[in-house]
Symmetry: C2
Subunit: 304 residues, 2 copies
Amino acid sequence: METLLTSPTQTVHIGAAHPFVVIGERINPTGRKTMAEQIAAGDFRQVLADAHAQVTAGAQMLDVNAGIPMVDEPALLAEIVRLVQQAVPVPLSIDSSVVAALEAGLKAYRGKALVNSVTGEDERLEAVLPLVKQYHAAVIGIANDQSGISHDPEVRFAVAKKIVARAESYGIAREDVIIDPLAMPVGAVPASGATLFQITRRIREELGVNTTCGASNISFGLPNRPGLNATFIAMAMAAGMTCAILNPLKEETTNAIRAANLLLGHDENAQTWIRFNRPQQEETAGAAPGGARPRRPRPGSASE
Amino acid sequence: METLLTSPTQTVHIGAAHPFVVIGERINPTGRKTMAEQIAAGDFRQVLADAHAQVTAGAQMLDVNAGIPMVDEPALLAEIVRLVQQAVPVPLSIDSSVVAALEAGLKAYRGKALVNSVTGEDERLEAVLPLVKQYHAAVIGIANDQSGISHDPEVRFAVAKKIVARAESYGIAREDVIIDPLAMPVGAVPASGATLFQITRRIREELGVNTTCGASNISFGLPNRPGLNATFIAMAMAAGMTCAILNPLKEETTNAIRAANLLLGHDENAQTWIRFNRPQQEETAGAAPGGARPRRPRPGSASE
């Protein structure tokens, strides 16, 4: 099953027959004090810098969020959507928990957007799905509801199934629903990785729809987050996940995604892998003989 | 299902309920000219250095191979088994394509060894399985036979099934058969990763036995082999693989295995991950603030 998202100039295909789609997570003021202050003051320089940096690093889509307390979130999100679309050519994921903000973002958006997100409660579904239909968008359905995030895979699967069925009842094709089975921090919830892989596989096999997650969440509170995220996303891809919202500036993570694309048969002649992992002349010259360690420099990786 | 291997002082448990078992690949003269010359001359210094280095790096078992043209392989393999068992406490995998060498190695071994390996041809099964039974060993069954390595997952699965059944007919418990579904170089066989993940999962689900592979083979001919191997092994673990023969001296690979163990629920309180990935004082001081940003809380999520 294939989800298509578009901008005025680009189409992104999400599905098992395609390379994994990276949705850049950085345009989000949550936990980013400077960005939040800038956005609240109508200064979008950091937003645009992050848009360019993430697309340069290989993000095929960008998530945009304007969730700042005490601001006019609908107006701000619409403005960010407009500015980011002027700056970069990739399709966007419009991210808010406020329905009016989603609507304002969709109104401003040119192309077929991804709505991030709807949860399984009836009142959320009834508020968000008509907008998804009206604006010919696709939507991320999060596998939790009024009872919270269940640790029982059966319950989360049932919520996913409900969201897909409800979307169809609104005339939204099931290929336009992407389920987020929820990556909980493995440091706090030891079974969260295994549970996510299991639900992801089951959603693919039984519902046939695409899956995604906010990948960075898995490593919350643990050291070497890029390393843990890299392994996590490759394992999620092995389980059938087809896109994720993550930080593309972490080279360790994006290179693991390149490796996993190759290992899943989505990198013809290993072209992409070889291009990004070719030993560099100057490094080879300076490397210890026999070490033959063709690592690339890691832009954006804070540690190591 | 659980495979137990022993040395006089250690027991290794291979199975889905345990952390992944790393079998060190380095004691193998194939492609290592200096080691081959040393071994042929009765000099085992490199062998013992590799034994110590691999165990220090975290290998829970070691593979030992003495496959050098024009030598008395049975005598050499038996000698290596004796010396390595004197030097390090871990159980061994006795590796040869020569039946007499396997027998000599088994005779010299103290404990319950892993025999590496038997393939699916009748004459190989009839030669190797009685030895496995006689010496109370376990055995790696490789999923190919006289027709070669099939690209058809059905054929490879059928060979695996035949090996398990034949072993049982010799009185070898199925938990003492570990199937190697064959990691072919992904640079030459584009489907090899996806095929391996699929067969691995099916063997686990339908036969219930453990699986292994020679992991380094997957990256043959490609740049950044440790990086590709690291992602590969994590994906194989997601598919249900429980041990592999690989180079534990490559920190990128062993750290991906630690991450995958954590994500599969085999690292209580993330103790091992934290021990090996704890930020060092000077790194923390230099790290950019905001690197460890939590994902925003989802609407209706437990974190709100």
